[in-house]
């Protein structure tokens, strides 16, 4: 027992050590701060970027520009809302871009049979594809990446078949309720913006204040433990993919109403924008942790950066993607660092 001494005195046979039942190492304050940054970091960046932009460019903080940004963000935001649920369960949904396009075409096509058909058709069809995604992921235990990739290809094919390879563009008649829903404004803001806000409030309540929401977190946090704790793992997964499909269809329908037609070339790569927005908003790609409010902020941040680059006339708009990409990389690095600091990863 002479040469064996290490730097610390050896505790006698395990007792005398401070048991871990009280506060663990790392002060509660630093943990709170990290949690705050992880949850609201994107919001802080959004505020700063917006402030700088409004001082730098006269045309940034105008009512028109803000209104346009808000309305054009609305559709991606709705898609990102569904994506948030999927990612918190530890999954991914690559089909939303195609479902967005399909939803738009279905709404425009259905508008000749009345508003009800125009609205319900995209929700039902895209929701059904979401159900299939969920069933394959949850029951057949296939990788979400592959399942939704297949759905992405299939849904786009279906959309092209409906439009004769994109040759047919269905229009939405002016003055219809559907057109009003997409193009009209209430209290100075576009209707899609109000619908989006309402959906996000509902989404936040569902996620934080219902059992289903708890199950979403539980499944993403530790699927095996969730099953042993009695959470309905398969049902939860099926529901989040269904929700994601329905919301993508709805976003597509609203977008078609806004544009007054079912444009077939939309939605390419939208799934990646949605994933980027969700991750920027503080949701962990590995699942188990996330916030819908963050996803909304993420969408706005992407849109503001795009707008700022457009304002800088000398910058080619292609650089917008470079900036978005670099920004995303920075966010993921910061998230990982914060997560490790909080001992979450």
């Amino acid at each position: 027992m002479t040469a064996t001494k290490t730097d610390a005195p050896v505790a006698p046979a395990g007792d005398g050590k401070q048991a871990a039942a009280t506060e663990p190492v790392g002060s509660a304050r630093s943990e709170r701060l990290s949690a705050l940054v992880q949850q609201h970091g994107a919001l802080a960046v959004l505020v700063v970027v917006s402030l700088v932009a409004s001082f730098s460019f006269d045309s940034f903080a105008t009512g028109d520009n803000v209104g346009n940004m808000a309305t054009s963000s609305a559709f991606l935001a709705i898609v990102a809302l569904g994506m948030t649920f999927v990612i918190i369960t530890g999954g991914i949904d690559l089909s939303v871009g195609s479902l967005f396009a399909l939803g738009g075409v279905l709404a425009a096509w259905g508008s000749r049979h009345g508003t009800l058909v125009a609205l319900l058709l995209p929700l039902v069809v895209c929701g059904a594809i979401g159900v299939v995604n969920g069933l394959l992921v949850a029951r057949s235990r296939l990788a979400p990446f592959i399942v939704t990739l297949a759905a992405m290809l299939g849904a786009r094919g279906l959309m092209l078949a409906l439009t004769d390879e994109g040759a047919n563009t269905y229009l939405i008649g002016k003055g219809s309720f559907l057109a009003e829903l997409g193009q009209g404004t209430t209290l100075g803001l576009g209707n899609p913006v109000w619908i989006t806000l309402a959906l996000f409030v509902a989404g936040a309540v569902v996620l934080r204040r219902t059992r289903f929401g708890q199950h979403v977190y539980a499944v993403g946090g530790n699927e095996d433990a969730a099953a042993l704790m009695g959470a309905p793992v398969a049902r939860t997964k099926i529901l989040v993919y269904t929700l994601s499909g329905v919301l993508a269809g709805l976003a597509g329908a609203l977008n078609a109403a806004w544009l007054a037609s079912g444009v077939t070339i939309l939605g390419n790569g939208m799934e990646l924008d949605a994933i980027a927005a969700v991750v920027i908003g503080g949701t962990l790609l590995t699942g188990g942790l996330g916030y819908v409010s963050g996803s909304l902020v993420g969408v706005l941040l992407l849109r503001v950066i795009q707008n700022v680059i457009n304002q800088v006339g000398s910058l080619d708009s292609s650089y917008q993607q470079v900036v978005s990409g670099a920004f995303l990389a920075l966010v993921v690095i910061a998230q990982t660092w914060l997560g490790r600091r909080r001992q979450l990863l």
Binding site: V10, A19, P24, E31, R211, G221, D224, G230, A231, G288
Partner: protein
């Protein structure tokens, strides 16, 4: 119904998996307020029994009568709702969810709008946890709590859900002594409230401290049941291991010659005071060249952990390892390999062989860096090494190109052995080298171990097969609850002596002192 009715009556429960009869005609009776020890070695069927009771598996035959009704749970949720809760050895909660939300998952208090009542949930969670000596901010993610506190949350969760039976599967493996005391007081409270507890543990002290009755399983069958107080420790151990006391030692059951002419030279391996929190406590082992040292002890006593700590695969909080007098940097597997330590892991499927690669590739995997120059591998040298070992270890493969996945378990084990021998190790750590391989191959592996020791290697042998351990080892270091409790040398290396040491029947003084002075 009669008042002292049992809360659970299991009759003739059987369950088979392909190739294994995991549980064979097992009975189990639990009365309200009974704390029942369920014990057995690896593969005895404890886990299977628990999983049948909790709805994870369905029985092939037999009845489970719970509170007078025959039940058949389809999922853990159904069992839980009916009143059978389980806490597992590894904490099974959601790390990123808050403590309170973990505690209440699936039975959250809701307000009149059907929404979760967070304030009430946090308040009740705090109150509930205080009873278990856990005072934390319940809004924090569970992950930020210590393992012991997490286990307490799991316990609080299991107990809070109006359970009639609480199954605890090695609940103390990650607890501090103080927390174990808290756990015991909870168990006693459960007993007073008429809740039955099934307690699985390998720590004999704990069993005798809290359990009233006992069921011993071995090879899927119930081999003993009754009051624990009527079964002394030694009988418990011998029942569990399936050995009669005083059983005559039969020579020749294994292929070990039992004599390795261990030289008096300096130890080739010296491990001193290895400590891993919750797992090892000041474990010391030394091996001389040409010596086979056995590690004895029950499941969970720290045998595998000792081997892993020596080989750098498990980080130690204190202790040191020297190889041929040269100290080793701890916690680094590459450093251990360079120093000449090779570990043949317990689970060769997940930690050892690469089934899709050929025999040749599997053997040369670890040694490749040494056979290459400027990043290029000398094929001729690889061939010569591979051929040498295929011949020397008598590996039966159609050619060096055959995929290892197609070989028998015994030959896979030999391929692994060859991989490490190609590194020219000084010390070989063998963790269950003959598990899961057929009798013939077993004998061959045992013979090889003998030959390797005769060639001057130091060998550390871990085996649950008592005969193998006793006959194969020159000395046996006995572990219990992560600490060395004795060392058997020379004529003491017998099954009888080993079981007595495990059971804690005061081993000979000199054995204890020898083990202690070893550190």
């Amino acid at each position: 119904m009669a008042p002292p009715a049992e809360v659970l009556a299991v009759r003739g429960l059987s369950k088979s998996f392909p190739g294994v009869r995991a549980l064979d005609d097992v009975d189990l009776t639990l009365h309200p307020g009974e704390v029942h020890a369920l014990i057995g070695e690896n593969g005895a069927g404890k886990s299977t029994l628990i999983k049948l009771l909790t709805g994870v598996y369905r029985p092939d035959a037999g009845d489970i009568v719970f509170q007078g009704r025959t039940v058949s749970f389809g999922t853990p949720l159904e069992a839980q709702k009916a009143g059978i809760s389980t806490i597992y050895q590894e904490v099974n909660l959601i790390p990123l969810l808050s403590v309170a939300r973990n505690l209440f998952l699936g039975r959250e208090p809701r307000n009149r709008f059907g929404l979760l009542d967070s304030a009430r949930m946090n308040r009740e969670a705090e109150e509930a946890l205080r009873e278990y000596g856990v005072r934390v901010d319940v809004r924090r993610p569970l992950r930020t709590l210590g393992v012991g506190a997490q286990q307490m949350v799991a316990l609080a969760r299991a107990v809070a859900s109006e359970a009639r039976i609480v199954i605890m599967d090695e609940p103390t493996s990650s607890l501090e002594p103080r927390e174990v005391e808290t756990l015991f007081s909870v168990i006693r409270r459960l007993r007073d409230e008429g809740i039955a507890v099934v307690y699985v543990s390998h720590r004999l002290d704990e069993l005798y401290a809290v359990c009233d009755t006992v069921t011993v399983l071995r090879d899927g069958r119930r081999v003993h049941h009754g009051r624990l107080a009527e079964l002394d420790r030694l009988s418990l151990v011998s029942t569990m291991l399936g050995r009669e006391l005083g059983e005559v030692r039969q020579e020749g059951l294994t292929k070990f010659t039992g004599d390795h002419h261990a030289t008096d030279s300096r130890p080739v391996l010296e491990a001193v005071g290895l400590t891993v929190p919750h797992k090892l406590n000041e474990v010391s082992v030394s091996i001389r060249p040409g010596e086979v040292v056995g590690l004895g002890g029950l499941l969970g006593s720290g045998r595998t952990e000792t081997a892993k700590a020596i080989s750098g695969a498990l980080a130690t909080s204190s202790g040191r390892v020297t190889v041929a007098g040269v100290p080793l940097r701890g916690g680094s597997t590459p450093a251990a390999i360079r120093a000449g330590i090779s570990l043949l892991p317990e689970d060769r499927k997940s930690e050892g062989i690469v089934p899709g690669l050929s025999v040749r590739e599997n053997i040369s995997l670890a040694v490749l860096p040494r056979l290459s120059r400027f990043g290029l591998v000398s094929e001729a040298r690889v061939d010569s090494i591979v051929d040498t070992f295929i011949e020397r270890l008598r590996i039966k493969a159609s050619s060096p190109q055959q995929k290892v996945g197609e070989l028998s378990g015994g030959n896979q084990q030999k391929v692994l052995l060859a991989r490490w021998l190609a590194m020219n190790p000084k010390v070989l750590l063998l963790d269950e080298p003959t598990r899961g391989i057929d009798v013939g191959a077993k004998a061959e592996v045992q013979k090889l171990v003998d030959e390797l020791a005769a060639d001057g290697l130091g060998v550390l042998l871990i085996s649950s097969d008592l005969e193998e351990l006793i006959e194969g080892s020159d000395r046996v270091v006995v572990l219990k609850d992560g600490a060395v409790v004795g060392e058997l040398t020379g004529d003491e290396v017998t099954e009888d002596k080993l079981m007595r040491t495990i059971a804690g029947h005061a081993p000979e003084k000199d054995a204890v002192e020898e083990a202690a002075s070893d550190g």
